[in-house]
């Protein structure tokens, strides 16, 4: 029985269990002529849960453990000299091929006699495993159903128990996101530590040269992994982007929140927010094809040598990209400043722009700073625009008209093409990723703290 069919059947049985619980609770109520603690639907739901949850838990545990058990049994069955002649890695490959054969998928080379014999053994084991799973789940489901149905009585607090299950289910869903985050961080940390066994942290964080050579040139030629040129490039592009996005975004927000007539706001706000929905790769080739050549020709006019792909090109386009972040976050925050403060200033004879500059903006400042920091972390993590438009030139220099490279671009470079995850050339990506993560996390935390503090002020 395939797993999909198994789950479908279980759901059907649960539906049946719901119905049985529902009718049973009505019958009990009628029989004893009393008011049940909960409404019939809750008894139905509880019986369904008793029927489904244990069986489902069993299924999950089984799917996780059974393949490992089978692998172990198959390995034990293999000729001793065959196993002794294999490294762990070879054994894993061998088992993978056997599993494929047992599930009637073809493998390259068609399989050796030993593999075919093991596959036949594995297929037998799998059939047995599958049948016993079906049987056990059936027992579980029916036991749960019967037990819960017999338990139905006017005193049984079905509603409270269902509510508890719902709470647990909701908490489990939130846990998924949290555990994923923790898992990603831990795996990055693990790989980064491996990298630091090749290159010392001091060399990585303080090195001023980025020249990681190719892993094929041998372990002796490890190259230099200095973070600073990349960090500098990231900071330069982000700074240019923020120089564009902060003034434009903030002024947009002020206009939208304070001056624009409502019809204009209704039309313009969604259009501005669409800017945030354009894929960054599109911004990237827009930068490469339109902005780069344009800046370059402007540079020619005024006598500055501006490269087509440069920190300026990437920063400018990235700035345009994050305008909507700044403007729509600041807009929300400016709108939240209570009208009474505006009235207070206007009532003293302040003009509209005086009110905004001297009362509204200072009151909204913490929140606006939070918006800036969120925009900054967005800029630092941005990848595609810089990949296409920054020129990929990891050299430490201060000229925004020259090509640069950033942390994100370098991660892309190190992880595309042939990879060997045992070499520092690939592993460095994790150290870079971790650095990036720590920077943006720090900015986000500061931003959230500031925004929250501000919210409390007026709620």
């Amino acid at each position: 029985m395939s797993n999909l069919a198994l789950i479908a059947t279980l759901l059907l049985i649960m539906a049946l269990a719901y119905h049985l619980g529902l009718t049973r609770s009505r019958a009990v109520a009628a029989e004893h002529d009393v008011r049940m603690h909960s409404r019939p639907g809750y008894y139905g739901a509880l019986v369904a849960l008793w029927c489904g949850l244990p069986a489902l838990t069993l299924f999950l545990l089984w799917s996780f453990l059974a393949p490992q058990l089978i692998d172990m049994l198959v390995t034990q069955q293999l000729p001793i000299d065959l196993v002794a002649g294999m490294s762990d890695r070879e054994l894993a490959t061998f088992l993978r091929r056997v599993t494929a054969l047992a599930n009637e998928r073809s493998v390259s080379g068609g399989g050796t006699p030993e593999e075919l014999a093991a596959a036949a053994h594995m297929a037998r084991l799998q059939t047995f495993e599958n049948l016993s799973l079906v049987a056990l789940m059936a027992v579980c489901a029916v036991t749960g159903l019967v037990f819960a149905r017999r338990n139905i009585s006017p005193q049984w607090r079905a509603r409270n128990q269902v509510e508890r299950v719902i709470t647990i289910a909701l908490a489990a869903s939130s846990a998924v996101a949290i555990f994923t985050t923790v898992g990603i961080v831990l795996s990055m940390l693990g790989e980064a530590l491996k990298f630091f066994s090749f290159i010392s942290p001091a060399e990585f964080f303080l090195g001023t040269t980025w020249n990681p050579r190719f892993s094929t040139s041998g372990t002796d030629a490890q190259g230099e992994f200095g973070l600073l040129p990349l960090l500098w490039g990231t900071m330069m592009v982000s700074a240019i982007a923020l120089l564009i996005a902060i003034p434009v975004g903030l002024m947009t927000a002020i206009y939208m929140a304070e001056y624009a007539p409502s019809w204009l706001r209704n039309v313009a706000k969604p259009i501005i927010e669409i800017l945030a929905g354009i894929p960054t790769i599109v911004y990237g080739f827009f930068a490469l094809i339109v902005i780069g050549p344009f800046l370059s020709s402007v540079g020619d006019l005024v006598g500055i040598n501006i490269r087509t792909t440069s920190a300026l090109t990437a920063g400018l386009v990235m700035g345009i990209m994050i305008i909507p972040f700044v403007s729509s976050l600041s807009d929300d925050i400016i709108t939240q400043v209570p009208k009474s403060l505006r009235d207070g200033a206007l009532g003293l004879g302040a003009t509209k722009s005086e009110t905004i500059r001297q009362v509204v903006l200072p009151a909204a400042l913490p929140g606006i700073v939070g918006a800036f920091l969120l925009a900054a972390s967005r800029a630092i993590g941005e990848t595609m625009i810089v990949v296409l438009a920054a020129g990929n030139n990891p050299v430490l220099h201060a000229n925004p008209f020259e090509a640069i490279s950033t942390i994100t671009v370098t991660i892309v470079n190190q992880l595309t093409g042939d990879m060997d995850f045992a070499s520092p050339q690939s592993l460095v990506a994790f150290a870079l990723g971790l650095t990036l993560f720590v920077i943006t996390l720090g900015l986000n935390v500061i931003a959230l703290v500031i925004v929250r503090k501000y919210r409390q002020q007026y709620e």
Binding site: A345, L346, G347, L348, G349, A350, E354, P362
Partner: protein
């Protein structure tokens, strides 16, 4: 309710609010005059044509049930309704015989002359000192720091707040108690030396003790300012106002000396309201 209003009335009030005599004496002292003022919110008419004179140095109270238009009318007097997009004002309001809605009228100067204190204390998120100094700075009232310091001190003194805050002028105004915040807002209004102070239910967010202090302050301020206040609390009107105007459903039903309004109203609706039959 009527009885309590009368017993709460200070005896001085009765002599000041000598109804007829004051009205006839003050004709050449009309500070503000409203003629057939109508206010619309979009298509809804909130005020149906109000005529009223406001005399120099009087305390005039607007009373009436919720939604009767008293706050709306008050906010017409320094054009605070301009900040509401859909609000439209018709008719004529003059201040010292000059139309305040005239096209060439500078609303900024008008509001410096006709200050307003709101229902909920709304100190700026700045220091106490900066809260007071804000208005004088806007209008360039002080040339030197010392002058500004003087204005801040005298405004706080007149608002009866100086002794409480003189040692912490650099602390945020939002950290004061509700009653102190409201007196700070009054001090802030006084600091730009207006002729008229509008008060929109200035005590409705305050506890009885803070209310008492603000009422006492209004009494003191009436010596040098014209005060127009909206209140929900009829005893308050009886305690502090020289004259009281009763609003109902966007109409000005009756305006007379506070004494007359509370003891011998001419209109049946006024009578019903102050005796607590509705509202």
């Amino acid at each position: 309710m009527n009885t309590s209003a009368k017993t709460n009335m200070p005896s001085s009030m009765v002599s000041v609010g000598g109804g007829e005599s004051r009205t006839s004496k003050a004709t050449n002292n009309v500070k503000m005059r409203a003629k057939d003022v109508k206010v619309f919110y979009g298509d809804t008419q909130a005020i149906n044509g109000i005529d009223i004179d406001i005399y120099e140095n009087e305390v005039l109270a607007f009373i009436g049930p919720s939604g009767c238009g008293k706050s709306t009318f008050l906010r017409c007097l320094n054009r605070m309704n301009d900040t509401i997009d859909i609000c439209r004002v018709e008719g004529e309001i003059t201040l010292d015989q000059k139309d305040i809605y005239a096209p060439d009228r500078d609303v900024v100067l008008l509001r410096a002359q006709v200050g307003i204190v709101f229902q909920k204390p709304n100190p700026f998120p700045k220091s106490i000192y900066e809260n007071i100094a804000y208005g004088p700075r806007l209008h360039g009232l002080a040339k030197r720091k010392a002058e500004l310091d003087d204005i801040v001190e005298s405004s706080l003194r007149r608002a009866g707040l100086w002794e409480e805050v003189k040692d912490r002028l650099d602390q945020p105004g939002t950290g004061l108690s509700g009653g102190q915040q409201q007196r700070l807002c009054i001090a802030r209004t006084i600091a730009v030396s207006p002729d008229i102070i509008l008060m929109d239910e200035p005590c409705s967010a305050l506890d009885p003790i803070a209310t008492g202090k603000v009422e006492q302050l209004i009494d003191e301020l009436s010596e040098s300012y014209t005060i127009v206040m909206v209140t929900h609390n009829m005893q308050q009107a009886a305690r502090v106002a020289d004259r009281t105007a009763f609003f109902h459903m966007g109409d000005l039903i009756e305006v007379d000396s506070t004494d007359t309004i509370f003891t011998n109203p001419q209109n049946q609706r006024t009578h019903d309201y102050i005796t607590g039959r509705y509202g």
